[in-house]
């Protein structure tokens, strides 16, 4: 009992944390060995594997830099694509390629894009992990030349501050101020360039609590769940708008994914 009280007082007395501090010792002991390296290999294998009724690989997929160019592509999302006349995030672009190049069924792909408890990883998670690794060291530079891209930023900003749901939460409720945390996890201020850059640069990430690599698309979906908002659909306007808002705020930062997170 005494120990509980000492612990509680120690926690309350602890100053608001930035990214470093209480878990430094933990991260030092963890070292550089991130199990995401296996998922990178798995994603690469999936990119080159012929699949679907058309039995072709994703090598013909244009991620914005030309068909099959994967190096540096992830860092430039979200972006407008002429062939679909829409702004896309990396996940919806991958689904588009699976559908059009490989002939796979979109509804089937959307049924389970992300792992559930007990799964070892999904195809989409692995592909996104590999593509993020292909952008390691690249400057985060979401495209904003096209009017649709800029419109996505504005929409994303609006949604970010939009309060809704039974808790009347907006993204801003948790992510508009610096040096805040929930329990011991630091909440990045996504309106601040440095925090946004560190955040965007470290997703997708191996989540040790799940033993899985999770994507930014998944992260947003889980935020919506935790806010008790309606479910966030992969590739929806809302999802892409929010990703655009965050990525533009992060622009200039450096990709260092896959990261390692709780």
């Amino acid at each position: 009992m005494t120990r509980t009280w000492v612990w509680l007082i120690a926690m309350l007395a602890m100053p608001a944390l930035s990214g470093d501090g209480i878990f430094d010792e933990y991260r030092d002991l963890m070292g550089d060995d991130n199990p995401a390296i296996f998922v990178i290999d798995e994603g690469e294998a999936l990119w080159f594997e012929p699949q679907g009724p058309l039995a072709v690989s994703l090598e013909g997929c244009d991620l914005g830099l030309g068909a099959g160019v994967t190096e540096g592509a992830y860092a430039l999302f979200p972006r407008y694509f002429e062939d679909t006349n829409t702004v896309m995030d990396v996940e919806s672009r991958l689904l588009h390629c699976m559908e059009t190049l490989q002939g796979r069924d979109r509804e089937a792909l959307l049924k389970k894009p992300y792992s559930l408890r007990g799964d070892l990883g999904t195809e989409l998670e692995a592909l996104v992990t590999w593509l993020a690794a292909e952008s390691e060291g690249a400057i985060i530079a979401p495209q904003q030349a096209h009017s649709s891209e800029r419109a996505m930023y504005s929409l994303g900003e609006e949604i970010f501050f939009y309060r809704a749901g039974p808790h009347d939460f907006s993204c801003a409720t948790c992510h508009e101020q610096s040096n805040m945390r929930i329990r011991l996890q630091t909440l990045p201020n996504l309106t601040d360039h440095d925090d946004a850059a560190a955040t965007l640069g470290s997703w997708p990430a191996y989540r040790i609590s799940e033993g899985l690599v999770r994507t930014m698309g998944w992260r947003l979906q889980d935020c919506f769940r935790q806010q008790r908002w309606p479910g966030l659909k992969l590739g929806s306007e809302v999802s892409i708008a929010l990703q655009t808002y965050m990525a533009v705020n992060a622009a200039g930062g450096v990709m260092a994914a896959p990261g390692l997170k709780r």
């Binding site: 963890m30 798995e42 594997e49 195809e123 948790c174 929930i182 329990r183 040790i208 609590s209 709780r262």
Partner: protein
Amino acid sequence: MIKQTQLAGLSRRRFVGWTALLSAAVAVPARVWAWARPEAAFVATGIDEALAGLGGTPTVHDAIQFTTPDIAENGAVVPIRIEVDSASLPNVSKVSVLVEMNPNPMAAVFDIAPDTEVYIETRVKVAQTCNLYAVVEADGQLYMQSRETKVTLGGCGG
């Protein structure tokens, strides 16, 4: 779905056979390499029972340097390091890791060959804030160090 890579691996029978083959082919050290899994320790549900499964009650020894984080970001992955200075505590043959409040405290046991440094780094699951134990066996005696690692409920994301 993830496609499992085909393994060019060993079948169970070959693995056991290989161990036997190695101990015959190379100069056999004083300790016999093939040693049984201490199953009693692994199935024990309490720390005392688990320690009994290892052979008794260890005494604290300062030559064991046991490094664990004071607080873990998540209990699923807690990095630990165990080092023993061979000059201060020679002939260490086994190093075990136990987590007191886990459903089964016994996590791992390592047999250290001669001329191998007594140095183990691994990552264990810690169900809740509790003591972690590093237990070493040297010349038939058990010694230990223990440290508490705090495990908290997570915040939202990260």
